[in-house]
């Protein structure tokens, strides 16, 4: 039983449920305590110990019957209740059928379904090995049943009844026989469906080349497929929790600041000035962020994740404002942030495109910086961390280094996040190498792992 549970846990993990070793041990302990006698309780003891997220209940509910199902309802032997004569008649009637159909009727009347090997071979032929997740099992099952001859079953039963009647079997016996065959037919279909579901789930658990989020984290944004983007979008939620607890812990440790003389005197007035309570200055560690995002095609993915991350982490920053630029600069519209929050990255970018229409070679960083300095300079103060997220490919427009220098002087820090590799900086129309000396730090953020490290550094506030 333990093996089966461990297998089940592997199946769950393959379905995207995160289960630690400690939780698997808990599950085994729980089963030890409560036993496997009652299925409902067994199911609940596994769920309480393994699944800690109500979103994952669905995966659990899908997989549980596959791993711990009875393998479908049992089939009955129709021949048992027949007299010897009748059995002979049945055999004769069956032998008149052609190979594949004879086999099917044989299974249905004898109550002994196909053997495990036969099922596996059928599954193979139906293409079960190509299925990605148990939902696809329905298709495979249907295909398998068709191969087994289920679609001709109605006619077949009619034929068989007729032939048995001609042979002189009693109406009563025929009806009984057909009743059993009908029941067995449903049982067999159910058995096949369960077998296929299980097989697909197990295959998935064993497949090593499935989409692994930790690998995806290191895959460059530019190379991500739509499906992989989806996986990562879900991953962001977990990433945010991690970043947030790291930032919070850091702030907790950093709370012990310098001695606060004024605060101490004030706090101890109630003790007649005897200094009982010591007050420490709280360090202001929550940074205030201003984010300038290049929204050209080449940076879409990185901008989406950056905005998503910073938006989710807004309780870790004291203030946050973001701007989008392309050929000119606009404040990031509110509905874009809402769409991003709903994980609708494409719709969000459509909204931005409506305001900043796309045209080839349109990026003009110099102009955008000029607009920023004219209209929004007041957002940058001595406490602001200014972040520019873009590839600095300026289409040979003026880079306006002077404005960047000015901004760097005004802000607490100026950080440049570039989605290109460092060796590509300065090649072609990239002005990155000119910008780098003006920045307090410049990082390359080619993938989600690098991006989350960069955001983590931003939150440290120094």
């Amino acid at each position: 039983m333990d093996d089966r549970i461990v297998e089940f846990i592997r199946g769950l993990r393959a379905a995207g449920v995160r289960i630690s070793l400690a939780e698997s041990i808990d599950a085994l302990h729980a089963v030890e305590t409560l036993g496997v006698g009652e299925k409902g309780i067994f199911r609940q003891s596994l769920r309480a110990t393994l699944v800690k997220e109500s979103d994952d209940f669905q995966a659990f509910d899908e997989l549980f019957p596959l791993y711990f199902g009875s393998g479908g309802p049992p089939m009955q032997n129709a021949a048992e209740e027949l007299s010897e004569d009748e059995q002979e008649m049945l055999q004769a009637a069956l032998s008149a059928l052609s190979g594949r159909l004879q086999q099917l009727m044989d299974w249905l009347t004898s109550g002994e379904g196909p053997s495990k090997e036969e099922l596996e071979e059928l599954a193979q032929r139906a293409g079960a090995q190509w299925a990605q997740n148990p939902q696809e099992g329905h298709w495979i099952t249907r295909r398998m049943l068709r191969q087994m001859g289920f679609e001709h079953l109605e006619e077949l039963i009619q034929q068989l009844m007729q032939r048995l009647q001609e042979m002189g079997m009693s109406q009563d016996a025929i009806e009984k026989l057909m009743g059993v065959v009908q029941a067995n037919r449903e049982a067999l279909a159910e058995q096949v469906a369960q077998q296929i579901g299980l097989q697909i789930a197990q295959d998935r658990a064993q497949r090593s080349d499935r989409l692994d989020t930790s690998d995806l984290m290191h895959k460059p944004f530019a190379a991500l497929s739509e499906e992989e983007m989806e996986v990562l979008r879900r991953e962001v939620r977990r990433l945010v929790t991690q970043l947030r607890s790291r930032a919070a812990l850091r702030r907790k440790r950093g709370k012990k600041g310098k001695f606060d003389a004024k605060g101490t005197i004030r706090a101890n007035q109630r003790y007649g000035g005897v200094p009982f309570e010591m007050r420490l200055k709280k360090k202001k560690l929550k940074p205030s962020l201003v984010l300038l995002c290049d929204v050209s095609r080449s940076t879409e993915a990185v901008v989406e994740f950056m905005l998503h991350l910073t938006q989710q982490l807004d309780d870790q920053v004291s203030k946050m404002s973001s701007f989008a630029f392309y050929d000119r600069l606009i404040p990031m519209p509110q509905d874009v942030m809402v769409l991003l929050g709903d994980q609708q990255g494409d719709a969000a970018f459509d909204a931005i495109r409506r305001l900043l229409p796309y045209r080839p070679y349109g990026t003009d960083l110099g102009n955008s910086l000029e607009i920023f300095c004219e209209k929004h300079l007041s957002t940058v103060t001595g406490r602001t961390t200014l972040i520019v997220l873009g590839d600095a490919r300026n289409n040979f427009n003026s880079p306006r280094i002077d404005l960047v220098k000015e901004l760097q002087r005004r802000a607490r820090r100026l950080i440049w996040l570039n989605p290109e590799m460092e060796t590509q900086w300065g090649t072609g129309d990239s002005d990155m190498l000119d910008y780098v000396p003006c920045c307090d730090a410049a990082y390359s953020v080619r993938n989600l792992a690098q991006l989350s490290t960069a955001v983590d550094r931003l939150l440290t506030g120094h």
């Binding site: 400690a22 808990d26 309780i41 800690k52 929790t241 812990l249 907790k252």
Partner: protein
């Protein structure tokens, strides 16, 4: 201590808490594996009540820690009672004077005082807060950590230490470990994601709105004054409201309030007028009330829209008061 799952359900039932099999299983497992329970689910489905019933069933005291934003260790664990320390120093001034009076130098006096400072940092000046109370209690307790999702992430990390070893260290007194490991129930309304480390240490219980039958059972148990016919109608209305796209759908506590209101108003049947007068007991937003009224005046001809969100799972938590 509970004998088995049925014992759990029975004894919770005696505390007027109708526990599903799921709840029974998880509570029993928490006891036998010595693990905290993390109960999640919408507000008002009886997560907090479960802790009360649990404590009642075991006849152990309940220690409750209500979480809120800004809750820190000193509010949750212990504080030094400054005022009392201050008062004692004032009252003992003469004794101190005698004690220190014959000291030759300031350094000697300070030295003597330092030897006695344990007096002022002893347990009698310690103000225990819920966590320390639960750890030092003479008998086993049920510790309810309510709405953990409202506390800051820092506090969650601190709680993790306490929940894994069941001991805390107080610099002046040393390490205090639990006399009896408390039974812990954490509740969360899922307003934010909890850290994985915390979830890993807990058994997970998702408490959802009850099915029609169990809700009817609860109403019958809690509001016996309501006629069975009316109770059925009332539950029916609430179940329908839950399927509507409302800002805040009524939970079990609101169903019970409404049932009590119906009894108080001596309602014979749930007609349009009774509905109009009492709908505000069930719905807490003006827009929701208006919406529900509009649908009701349509005579229910319009199918209520399916509420988006987590799937409707049968079973789940039951409320008791």
């Amino acid at each position: 201590m509970f004998q088995d799952i049925n014992d759990v359900r029975e004894r919770l039932g005696q505390q007027q808490y109708i526990a599903s099999e799921e709840i029974g299983t998880v509570v029993y497992l928490a006891q036998s594996l010595c693990k905290p329970i993390l109960a999640e689910g919408p507000a008002g489905v009886g997560k907090t009540e479960l802790a009360k019933a649990w404590a009642g069933a075991l006849q152990n005291p309940l220690v409750r820690l209500q979480c809120y934003e800004g809750l820190d260790e000193s509010k949750a664990l212990y504080e030094w009672e400054y005022a009392k320390q201050m008062l004692y120093t004032q009252l003992l001034r003469d004794t101190l004077h005698d004690f220190l009076g014959d000291a030759g130098s300031l350094a000697e006096a300070a030295g003597r005082l330092a030897q006695e400072e344990d007096v002022f940092f002893s347990e009698s000046f310690l103000l225990p807060r819920p966590l320390l109370t639960a750890l030092t209690s003479e008998e086993p307790v049920v510790l309810l950590i309510d709405e953990i999702d409202r506390a800051d992430v820092e506090f969650e990390a601190f709680l993790l230490e306490v929940l894994s070893d069941f001991q805390v260290s107080i610099p002046e007194l040393g390490t205090i470990s639990a006399r009896h490991q408390p039974m812990v129930l954490l509740t969360s309304n899922n307003t934010r994601e909890l850290s994985e480390a915390l979830k890993r240490r807990c058994l997970y219980l998702f408490v959802d709105y009850p099915s029609r039958e169990s809700e009817l059972d609860i109403v019958r148990l809690k509001v016996p004054g309501l006629s069975p016919d009316l109770a059925r109608q009332a539950v029916e209305v609430v179940q329908q409201l839950r399927n509507m796209d409302l800002r805040k759908v009524p939970s079990i506590s609101e169903t019970l309030d409404w049932a009590r209101a119906l009894v108080a108003l001596n309602a014979r049947q749930i007609d349009e007028e009774t509905m109009r007068n009492t709908l505000t007991v069930l719905l807490k937003y003006e827009s929701d009330v208006a919406r529900a009224r509009r649908l009701m005046s349509n005579g229910g001809s319009q199918r209520p829209g399916q509420r988006p969100g987590p799937g409707q799972r049968p079973g789940g938590g039951q409320y008791g008061r």
